[in-house]
Symmetry: C2
Subunit: 345 residues, 2 copies
DNA sequence: CTGAAAGCGCTTACAG
DNA sequence: CTGAAAGCGCTTACAG
């Protein structure tokens, strides 16, 4: 058996080895193994037997080079251990698997630090395409580089202005607006919003939607022009900003986080100050992460179909990989307001 | 500029194009771009300018084929959207990035369904190595195939008997045993354990450790030979088994989950039955997932350094990729018992 | 139905 | 310091 003659001189078995043993040409082995026509049944079987016996495995790298296209896609995200993106990644991987593609996951830094490096890696590896999350407006030039190099890609969740490409997300404005109406419905008059980063268009639209419905209902948004309105999507940021707003804005009926992680920080601050949610104040978040409905105090939030987002994005990408080349499409997936303990008195 | 002459006939610029424009040979361009000696400073600069001007990007696929080794590693896990593995993945990706390697993430099914297919993919893509989580004993033959093909890999978290390879995990027995001592310390006399899958050696050792310390303290393990002792690592499984045990085993002082997700299910069951934790009964989990300390009722658990596990595993793998070939090593990372509300009266 | 030859885009000895 | 040639392991027209 090939491969058992000592560790120093070990070589993987190549297609040429199979051809030699089977007594046919490399071309015939290639055709047989790839199920192409023009190989007699008898030879086909013989080649398969020899290949199996030798433990032959095709070399995908050589295949890709020769065929001129790879069967891998790239997914760029801020952090796989962020459950939001982990769910998106799951959807992407699922569709990629179904298409026989591998998924390569890269981490961009929290401020898109490495996006350009990642894009270049995708290019160098000749990936079939890419999916980008956590985009901010400054990334437009990098995405344009990708377009110049004809690498198909889709924008997930966040959009970036001035780059015509497929996008998949939800209607953040509508989500924010529905949440605002609910907050008004339950009688709040003085509300503060602790949003996400100012350069995320998704975060921005959530805030705009929320504030538009709130003010149309005559509800006061206390920190409209305040620094607290935007910040990082972290629990500590939520807690710190909640404290700041509670110190500065007088009585508050409800505090809304730009996502559930921020809302968790808000709940931390409430615990620290002895504020009883929902008796003394209401709290809501965004995203419907699993941790938002663990334990006795469950969070009101807006559901975002994260896996579906990943799946739909991957489908868009595979359309393009398979040759579709129309203008950028937009898929707006359904969101849903979920009312739980923290806004129910 | 190359690449602007119409969409129908677009070609990426190759090293040969750079050579032609710069008026040197391909070999010289290669040496210059790869920082090899033997290229005059003047020529080196000229080549760089031409390459940049043309928008040249090296073709990693061709490089890999020629050099005979890839700069990608594979990571197999049950599900990236499982936060346990997402954290492990984060550690792996971090170290891979530092080494200039890409990380390819594959999903094995819940019962290792696709592990063999994934292993073959890793082989076919000529990956530099692989990291495997969620392994069960039936996977030994697949791992041996990898060894026969000389693909370096490491086993993460779960171990599988009979496969000599690097392993990184924690001392699950000791973790279980410490948890058992704590449960005994707070005065419990009748305890049930709702563990993970029977073919996971990590789950098994947690149970063995817990039960050994419990019985040495004279505490009764109610479901020692019961079907409820093992099951899937899901919230519903935890809840269902908690109900079963509460129905069948008489009074219970504490219910311990094989991981935090199961413990969450136990808490669900308690809520449904009106059992007040920790007043009426104590609950503990394992893993210290972030959701275990959200909200007012925080879970006692055993911390597992998940990112470190991923990092250490990747370091082991890179040792081997860089030529180390000693026998399988074992890294036991520190765990820590974390006592919170659910076992504090 | 089968094979000889060329080529995907690089890098690596080897000569000069 | 630079270049011509061979080759990594495949696949793809093209002949026979």
């Amino acid at each position: 058996m090939v491969g058992s003659e000592g560790p120093t001189s070990w070589k993987r078995v190549r297609l040429a080895d199979v051809a030699a043993v089977a007594g046919v040409s490399a071309a015939t082995v290639s055709n047989a193994l790839n199920g192409k026509p023009g190989v007699s049944a008898e030879v086909r079987v013989r080649i398969q037997v020899v290949a199996d016996g030798l433990g032959y495995r095709t070399n995908t790298v050589a295949q890709e080079l020769r065929r001129g296209h790879s069967r891998s896609i790239g997914l760029a995200l801020v952090d796989v251990s962020n459950p939001f993106y982990a769910d998106v990644a799951k959807g992407v991987i699922e569709v990629a698997d179904q298409n026989g593609f591998a998924t390569l996951i890269s981490h961009v830094g929290p401020e898109s630090e490495h996006l350009e490096v990642i894009a270049e890696t995708f290019l160098d590896r000749r990936l079939a395409g890419g999916l980008f999350t956590s985009l901010c407006n400054a990334d437009a030039s990098t995405l344009k580089l990708l377009q110049k190099q004809h690498l198909p890609f889709v924008k997930l969740v966040r959009d970036v202005a001035g780059v015509d490409a497929d996008w998949v997300g939800i209607d953040d404005f509508a989500g924010g607006s529905e949440l605002g109406n609910h907050i008004a419905d339950v009688g709040c008059r003085r509300v503060a919003f602790l949003g996400g980063p100012s350069d995320s268009n998704a975060s921005a639209m959530r805030g705009v939607g929320l504030r538009s419905s709130l003010s149309s209902r005559g509800v006061l948004v206390l920190n409209g022009s305040d620094a607290s309105i935007s910040g990082s999507l972290s629990r500590t940021s939520g807690s710190e900003r909640a404290h700041a707003v509670l110190d500065q804005c007088g009585p508050i009926d409800a505090l809304v986080g730009g996502n559930d992680v921020i809302a968790l920080g808000i709940l931390d601050a409430c615990r620290e100050r002895g504020i009883d949610v929902p008796r003394d104040m209401l709290v809501a978040g965004f995203d419907n992460m699993s941790f938002s409905h663990v334990g006795p105090l469950q969070l009101t939030t807006v559901n975002v179909p994260r896996e579906d987002l990943g799946r739909k994005g991957a489908c868009f990408l595979f359309d393009r990989i398979q040759g579709y080349s129309g203008p950028g499409r937009r898929a707006v997936l359904p969101h849903e307001l979920i009312i739980r303990d923290t806004t129910t008195r």
